[in-house]
Symmetry: C2
Subunit: 164 residues, 2 copies
């Protein structure tokens, strides 16, 4: 009934009208990218969440921790230890809004931006291991598509926020 070879690298059947799932191709790639990032982050003394916070605050200061959490796709309770740490290191500024002392105004400091820039340079150098193998046309198309997806996600999120 089942009469295929039990080889590990038997030719993968790939009918002309089928494609692999996006997530099935992307998830292992992301995992590998993250595995490559972790030592770099550790060497620069920050966690993945901390790096994510620095990236977001470098794009723009934030008027509340909840907004920051939403921007980076985290729970608001989850980033608190990260913010404590970044503040203690002097990488972010975090002070109560004088107009509403419940909310915290968040911004990256010069020191924080320097760490973020150094870390990002190393990370992107590592990513060239993947991008470097692409033709110039494929590279630019791939990055363009990813940026388009990112922008569309942000637009959809803003729309959902405004309607609520």
């Amino acid at each position: 009934m089942i009469c295929q070879r039990y080889d590990s690298d038997v030719a993968t059947k790939r009918a002309s009208d089928t494609r692999p799932d996006l997530a099935a191709m992307l998830a292992p790639l992301v995992r590998e990218l993250i595995d490559a990032e972790l030592p770099i982050l550790a060497a620069n003394g920050i966690s993945m969440w901390a790096y994510s916070v620095l990236l977001a605050l470098d794009r723009s200061p934030m008027r509340s921790q909840a907004a920051l959490a939403e921007a980076i796709g985290a729970d608001k309770t989850r980033i608190i230890p990260t913010l404590d740490e970044l503040q203690a290191l002097g990488y972010i500024e975090r002070r109560p809004d004088p107009d509403d002392r419940r909310v915290r105004l968040l911004a990256v400091t010069d020191a924080g931006r320097a760490v973020k820039d150094a870390t990002q340079a190393e990370i992107q150098r590592g990513e060239e291991r993947w991008l470097g193998r692409l033709s110039a046309a494929d590279r630019s198309a791939f990055l363009r598509v990813l940026r388009q997806f990112t922008d569309e996600r942000r637009a959809a999120r803003n729309l959902a926020r405004e309607s609520s």
Copy 2:
């Protein structure tokens, strides 16, 4: 000292010689793809790991559970409950190798392939929400790049396995 506006959608600075990190763009995308998949998987009565197993066994039968685990990037202990379940549902065949009764020969059944095909069709229809917005050229370039990355990962893994 810090004099930017605290707006959430302030223009993101994007210097001409910089690009966003690959992982920073891919990770949220993968998360969203997975969130869209989970209801589909639930409706078809299988878990994410089970679907991953069906995909792998549909590509090729496997001669051991450890090989299967490695192929899908899982721990060998983690997939055991999944295999139990898939076997109970009649979606996979799992029998001791007569030549070495320690190892289990694994293969997908016709019923398992049917569930996998139905699930995959739904998932890929959902993914068209993303791919459908791309130009034909961008779509084919994007998928070509992802396949290239996937193939390179597999080649690197086979190389590492053979040298050990």
